[in-house]
Amino acid sequence: MLGTILQIAFLLFSLSILMNLWRLVKGPDLPDRILALDTIYINSLALLLLLGMFQNTQTYFEAALLIAMFGFVGTIAAGKFLLRGDLIE
């Protein structure tokens, strides 16, 4: 039973990442693209957690934590660049 549910979850997250990629390509403005990138890293983090559950390892946990931290830093940097035109003043 859990195998089927995990496959459904993989399918749903992959479709979510495809929709985010469509929003990333289509735009129409820069904040939309930042938001699409933010959602892409959150979805890929969930995919990594699901893969760790699927293979029954703890290996992917650190990778997910690193993606969470660096994704947040990237989002804040892009947002601050749009706000100020500069990162470090």
Partner: protein, 124 residues
């Protein structure tokens, strides 16, 4: 995969429920990001992605590792970190969108403009 199917049945139901909850909410959030009309309505859709989607997956992962042996709560680190940082990044993105003056959906009430938008001023 075989170890997951060897878990007790009640934990399999719990894990399956939380995985389905998380993935369905993440799908709804991304659908909102793809379909909603302007940036300010699109901004609120992926919030469901972080809180309910990641929350459900993290709870399922905690149950799956805790049932097999000792209780491990290290996955909660990801959930706590995301719950702390998601409002900050949404706030920065909303400020950037207001700064670049994006077009709004026609039914959005713009409080920066005086006039009919302020209903309490009309009342007195």
């Amino acid at each position: 995969m075989e170890t997951l199917n060897a878990l007790p049945v009640w934990s399999q139901w719990l894990i399956g429920f939380f995985i389905l909850l998380g993935s369905v909410f993440a799908f709804i959030g991304s659908l909102g990001l793809a379909l909603l009309p302007d940036f300010f309505t699109r901004l609120h859709a992926p919030t469901k992605n972080t809180t309910l989607g990641i929350g459900g997956i993290v709870i399922a992962s905690i149950i799956a590792t805790s049932v097999q042996g000792s209780v491990t709560l290290s996955e909660l680190l990801i959930a706590i970190f995301l719950f702390l940082t998601a409002p900050i990044s949404a706030h920065i993105m909303a400020k950037a969108a207001l700064h670049t003056e994006l077009k709004m959906f026609s039914r959005t009430r713009d409080y920066r403009q005086k006039g009919d938008a302020y209903e309490h001023e009309k009342a007195d």
